[in-house]
Symmetry: C2
Subunit: 356 residues, 2 copies
C-alpha cells in the first residue's frame, strides 16, 4: 500500500546530523524520573554522558552519584556559585516546575546548554523570564517533550503530511494515571500548586496530548475551554483532579482532551481526518504504538527497542554539537504555558479563552 | 475472573417479560433508515409486524409497501384523518426531526403507542409539546435510542454497576461519519436547520455518546461547554460541521465528546474509572464491541448475531404488550434536547451552560 514505506523505516533517526562528540550533562533534581529513567537512558546514548548530579542537599547528590557511578556531585547552591563548571557542557533540569527557572538562569550565565523538563515552569511569567535568560546568555534552551523524538509520533506526523488521513478534522487525547498509587504521598509536589503551578492533571498529563497534537499537526491551539474539579482530599489544593478540555487549533482542527491524576492508567491520541485516522495507543507512558486506519487498510507498529529518553538526549546533544537550533525551544514551551494558563482560566471563569 | 459471568450471558434479553402477542406498526417516513434497516429488522422480531407504511405522498407509500410486501399504505394526511386506524397498534416515526411532533400528536389522539427516532424533535419547545401530547393521550412515547438494548451497552452498564472499573471518573465519546458520501446530496435534510433543528453533528451523531453515557452511568449531564464550526459549503446553514464538547455528569464524572458529519467513519465510547476502563469501539453504527481492561485483565466481546433494531422493536413491543413503562420515555428524550440546546448555546456564547 502507498503508506507502507513510512512503516518500513519506522524507527529511523531522521533528525541525526552527527555521530561525533560527547555532551557531558549535569542532572538537576534527583526524583524517580531522573534516577530510574533518565540516567539509564543516557547510558544508552551515542552522544551523551552524565558527569555531575545536583540536588538540594549535597549528601543526596553524593549518595546517588556513588550509586550510579557518576564522577561528580554537588548541591544546588554550589551549582549557582559556578562550581564544577568545567565538568559539564549542558544541564538537564527535572526539578518540580517552580524550581526550573533558577537553574536556567544560572546555566545561561555559565554558558551551558539547557534541556528543561515540561511543563517548563509553574507560570507564564516565569516561562517568559526563562526564555529571556536563555536568549540573554545565548544558550540553547530545549523543553523536554520526549514525544517529539518518539518514532511513532514522528511517523504520525509524516503520515499526516503525506495525506494518509486526508485533511485532519479532529483530535482526541487522553492521559490518565493514578498518581497516589505511583507515588504514595498525598503531600507530593505535583499536588502542591506552589511547586507545580496552575494545577496538576492538565500541567503534568494533559500537556502530552495537547503538545503532541501541536507537533503532529504543525498547528497550535488558538481557542480553548475547560472544565475541572477536585473531589479527593489529596487534591484539595489543586483545581483539576479531573479535567476535560476542548481546543480549536490553527487551521480549524477541533480537539477534545481528558486528563486526570486519579484514575486507571491510560493514554491515547487519535487524529481523525476526512479519509482515515491515526491512533497512538498507548501513547505517553514510555510505550507508543501507532495505528493507521483507512477504508480497507489498517497497519500498526511500534519502535519496541527504542528508549524515548535515549532518543531525546541524543537529539539534544546532536543539536548542541552541530550548533543547530533545538526543537522544542523555549518559545514553543512558553506557548504551552499560555495554553495551560488559558485552560485554567476557562475552567475558573466558565468562558472560552482565545490565545493571541 | 470475577467479571467473566457478565460476558458469559452477553446477548441475553434481560428486559424480556413476554413472548406472547404482536404489535402491528405503522411506519412513518420512508428514508433509507426505515426501508433498509427498520423493515428488515422488524421481520426478525418475535413481537412486531409492519402493517402500514406512511409517506407524504401516497404513491411513494404504496410503491414501498408493494416492494416490501406490507399490506397497507397511506399518506401523512390520511394518517392525520384517522385512516386505517384499526390496522395498526403503534407508530414508528422516522421522519426528519422537525416533522415528528405532528405524528406524535395524531397518534396520541388515536390512542396509538409511539416509538419516535432520536433526537425526538428539532427544538426543546417541540419536544415539550410532544411529551405533553403523549401524556394527554395516555399513550406510551418511547424515544428510539437503540443503544439501550444493544447487548454490549447493557453489559457495559452491568460492569459499571458491578464495580468492574472502580469508581467511574471520565468518559470520551466520538461519532464521526462522512454524511455527503453516505447521502450524496448537499441539500439533504440533516444539513437543513428547518428540518434538523439546532445543527447536524451533535444532534444526529453526538447524541449517541452523550446519551449512551447517560444510560451506562445512570447519570445526566449537568454542565456543558462546546466549540463548533462549519467550513465546507454544504454545511453553510448549520453551525457544527465539526463539534467538540465537554460535560460534567451528575456525580462528577467528566466527559469529552467529538462529533462530525464530515470525516472518516469512526465511533467510540470509553469510560475510565479508578480501577479499569470500558471501551465500546466500534460503538454506534450498528456494530458494537465491548472491551474491559483492568490491571492484568482484558476481555472483549460483541453480540455478532444481534440486530440492534430487532432488539429495540421487540423491547418496545414487550413493554406495550405488558403495559409496562418504556425506557427511554419522552422526558428522557426531552432532557437530551435540553443538553443539545445547551451545547449549541455554549458554542455560540462561549460560556459554560448549566442544566437545571
Amino acid at each position: 500500500m502507498e503508506f507502507d514505506d513510512v512503516f518500513d523505516s519506522f524507527a529511523e533517526r531522521d533528525w541525526q546530523t552527527t555521530t561525533e562528540g560527547t555532551v557531558r550533562f549535569a542532572l538537576v533534581g534527583l526524583g524517580w524520573w531522573t534516577v530510574d529513567e533518565a540516567i539509564p537512558a543516557i547510558r544508552e546514548t551515542d552522544l551523551c554522558e552524565v558527569s555531575v548530579l545536583i540536588s538540594r542537599s549535597v549528601e543526596k547528590a553524593e549518595r546517588y552519584a556513588e550509586e550510579a557511578d557518576v564522577p561528580h556531585a554537588m548541591s544546588g547552591d554550589d551549582f549557582h556559585d559556578g562550581a564544577l563548571a568545567e565538568q559539564y557542557d549542558a544541564v538537564y533540569i527535572a526539578t518540580p516546575n517552580a524550581y526550573h527557572r533558577a537553574y536556567v538562569e544560572t546555566a545561561a550565565d555559565l554558558d551551558k546548554a539547557v534541556l528543561c523538563e515540561k511543563p517548563m515552569a509553574e507560570s507564564v511569567e516565569t516561562a517568559e523570564a526563562m526564555v529571556e535568560a536563555a536568549e540573554g546568555g545565548d544558550v540553547p534552551l530545549m523543553v523536554a517533550y520526549r514525544m517529539h523524538t518518539e518514532p511513532a509520533v514522528r511517523r504520525a506526523r509524516d503520515l499526516v503530511q503525506a495525506g494518509a488521513i486526508g485533511e485532519p478534522v479532529q483530535v482526541y487525547g487522553n492521559n490518565s494515571q493514578p498518581i497516589l498509587s505511583l507515588i504514595d504521598d498525598p503531600n507530593q509536589w505535583r499536588l502542591d500548586p506552589d511547586a507545580s503551578g496552575y494545577g496538576t492533571s492538565m500541567m503534568d498529563l494533559g500537556i502530552y496530548p495537547i503538545n503532541t497534537a501541536r507537533f503532529v499537526l504543525g498547528a497550535d491551539p488558538v481557542r480553548v475551554q475547560a472544565q475541572m474539579a477536585s473531589y479527593d482530599e489529596a487534591f484539595a489544593d489543586v483545581p483539576d483532579e479531573r479535567s476535560t478540555a476542548t481546543a480549536v487549533y490553527e487551521g480549524g482542527v477541533h480537539a477534545a482532551f481528558t486528563a486526570t491524576q486519579n484514575a486507571y492508567d491510560d493514554t491515547e491520541l487519535t487524529i481523525t481526518g476526512t479519509e482515515g485516522k491515526l491512533t497512538l495507543s498507548p501513547a505517553f507512558h514510555m510505550e507508543c504504538r501507532l495505528e493507521l486506519d483507512r477504508e480497507g487498510y489498517s497497519v500498526s507498529a511500534e519502535a519496541e527497542d527504542v528508549n524515548e529518553m535515549t532518543e531525546e538526549f541524543d537529539y539534544f546533544a546532536d543539536r548542541v554539537l552541530s550548533d543547530e537550533p533545538v526543537y522544542a525551544d523555549g518559545e514553543h514551551g512558553l506557548y504551552d504555558m499560555r495554553v495551560l494558563a488559558a485552560l485554567h482560566e476557562s475552567a475558573e471563569s466558565g468562558e472560552t479563552v482565545a490565545l493571541d
